[in-house]
Structure formats: C-alpha cells, structure tokens
C-alpha cells in the first residue's frame, strides 16, 4: 500500500496536511467578526466551527429579514422609477 501512495502525484491537492488545516481554520476565524481579534492559539478549532455555524445562521436570518422588508417596500413604491434611481445612485 505504501508503494502505491509514493507513486501517486507528488503534491496532491486532496492530501490534507495539518498545516493546511490550521491555515484554513485561522482564515475562517478572520472572517467571523466575533473571533477576528483573538490569536489563533487562544481559540480552539471546535469553537471556530461553532461560531461559524452561528454566524452563518445569523446571516441567513438577516437576509430573511431584509427580504421581508424589501418585499414590503417594493409593494408600496412605484418600482420602475425607484429602481432606476437606486441603480443610478448605487453605481455612482
């Protein structure tokens, strides 16, 4: 079995190294506002995963709330002129 492994591609993307794992986890940690400031050795990988799940859930909730508000607002505005105005203001 070991001979088979040595014959495989030298730097296989799918072979996961420990360094790669810690690298990915610290990168994930930087994206989460709660954990951004802390040093990577202070926060356990398990906590990073937990906070990631919580963060994604809260982002989903926020998008849902925004969709609610947006649908209400869209129903009550004159859409074409409003949307032309939005596009113009957001792109300038």
């Amino acid at each position: 079995m070991s001979s088979r492994r040595s014959r495989s591609r030298q730097s296989d993307v799918s072979r996961i190294t420990d360094h790669q794992i810690t690298d990915l986890i610290s990168k994930l940690q930087q994206l989460i506002p709660e954990l951004r400031g802390r040093r990577s050795d202070e926060v356990s990988a398990s906590k990073v995963l937990q906070e990631t799940c919580n963060y994604i859930r809260s982002l989903h909730r926020e998008v849902d709330d925004l969709s609610d508000r947006l649908s209400q607002l869209l129903a009550s505005t004159d859409t074409d002129s409003a949307q032309a105005a939005i596009i113009r203001s957001l792109l300038m």
Binding site: T52, L70, A82
Partner: protein, 207 residues
C-alpha cells in the same frame, strides 16, 4: 503526463515541455496555486465593483419577477437574492452550483427522497452500529452541521468544507451589505422623511 500538467494550469498555449520547466522554476505546486485562487476569489466579494454588479443584477431580477407575479412575496425575494448571488459567483464554487441546480429541479422533492433513503438505511442496520455512530467526536459533529448549513456541502472532505464556507460567508456578507443599502434607500424614498440630496437621485421618487 503532459496532458495532466496542461489540465492543472491554465497557462499560455505552449508546449508541454515548457510548462514542465516553468513549474520547476516557479516552484508552485498545484496545492498552493489552488490556495491562491481561493484567496483571490474570496477577496473579490469585498470589492466595490462586485457589490455594484450584484446590486444592479438583483434590482433587475426583482423588477422582472415583479412583472410576472403581482406581489413580491418575501421568500420570492430571498430566492431571487440567493439565485443572483449564486450567478455572481461565476460557477467556481460548489455552494453556488448547488443553489442554482436546486432551483431548476424541484429541490424539495430531492430532499424528501434523500430523507426516505436515510430512514430506510438506519432501520436495516443493527442497533450496535447505531450506538457507535452516536459517539462521533464533537468536532466532527460540528463539521457536519456546518456542511448542512452551506448548500451542497453535505458530503465533502474537511478542507473542502472549510474552503466553501469561507467563500460562502464572504458572499453572504456582500449580500447583506447590498440588500441593506437597497432597503435603506427605498425606505428613505417611501418614508417621505428628509428629502434625499439632489445629486444622489436622477429622478424624484416621491410624487
């Protein structure tokens, strides 16, 4: 062997030998090349340009969907926002393709089918095996939860899930920023509070 190298790197159209030499000189492995690509993709979600592209596409899509259905229901808005977000990802990530394909085929039906399969499998297995499964370490359990949250990532390897998650979070953050800006803009116009500055608008929203 040569064709394998040409598959990995989207370099200029040169002979395979040149490519092999080039790889040795720059000393860039497929793994680090892949990582650089991922980093660049994630940074893209932060740019002003990407935000503008997404907001104009979203508004256009919302306008189109309003023409077909009379009311803009919240889940329609949510689905449109997600779909446009997935399109903006330009198809390199799994979560984006998962969102787009689940819209095309009846996504709910697929989930039901999968659930039925899982139930049938667990019934056939002996109880002994089930008890072992429950002892999964905390870490792997959390990873599974994460895989369920990010679309299309239920059965991915550890590093793949983390990659997809990073990109997905960056995209979601942009989605929230854009939708917040649009909502606030519309609320300003509809609420009829202070008059928006003249240079911001091309036409007056309030009649």
């Amino acid at each position: 062997m040569a064709s394998l190298l040409s598959d990995l790197e989207p370099g200029p159209d040169t002979s395979p030998e040149f490519k092999r030499k080039k790889r040795r000189i720059t000393n860039e492995t497929p793994a680090s090349f892949h990582r650089n690509q991922v980093n660049q993709r994630i940074k893209r979600w932060r740019t002003e340009r990407e935000q503008q592209v997404y907001s104009s596409k979203l508004i256009e899509a919302l306008r189109r969907s309003r023409r077909t259905s009379s009311s803009a229901a919240p889940n329609e808005v949510r689905e449109t926002a997600d779909r446009v977000l997935a399109v903006s990802a330009k198809g390199t990530t799994r979560w984006s393709t998962a969102i787009l394909t689940s819209r095309l085929s009846s996504g709910a039906k697929m989930r039901e089918h999968r659930k039925a399969k899982v139930i049938a499998n667990t019934r056939l297995k002996k109880p002994k095996i089930n008890r072992e499964k429950r002892k999964l370490p905390v870490f792997e359990r959390k990873l599974k939860v994460l895989g369920r949250l990010v679309p299309g990532c239920r059965k991915l390897s550890f590093s793949n899930i983390l990659e997809e998650t990073s990109d997905y979070i960056a995209a979601l953050q942009m989605q929230v920023r854009v939708m917040t800006a649009i909502t606030e803009f519309l609320a300003d116009g509809v609420g009829g509070g202070s008059q928006p500055p003249a240079d911001r608008l091309g036409s007056n929203v309030n009649p």
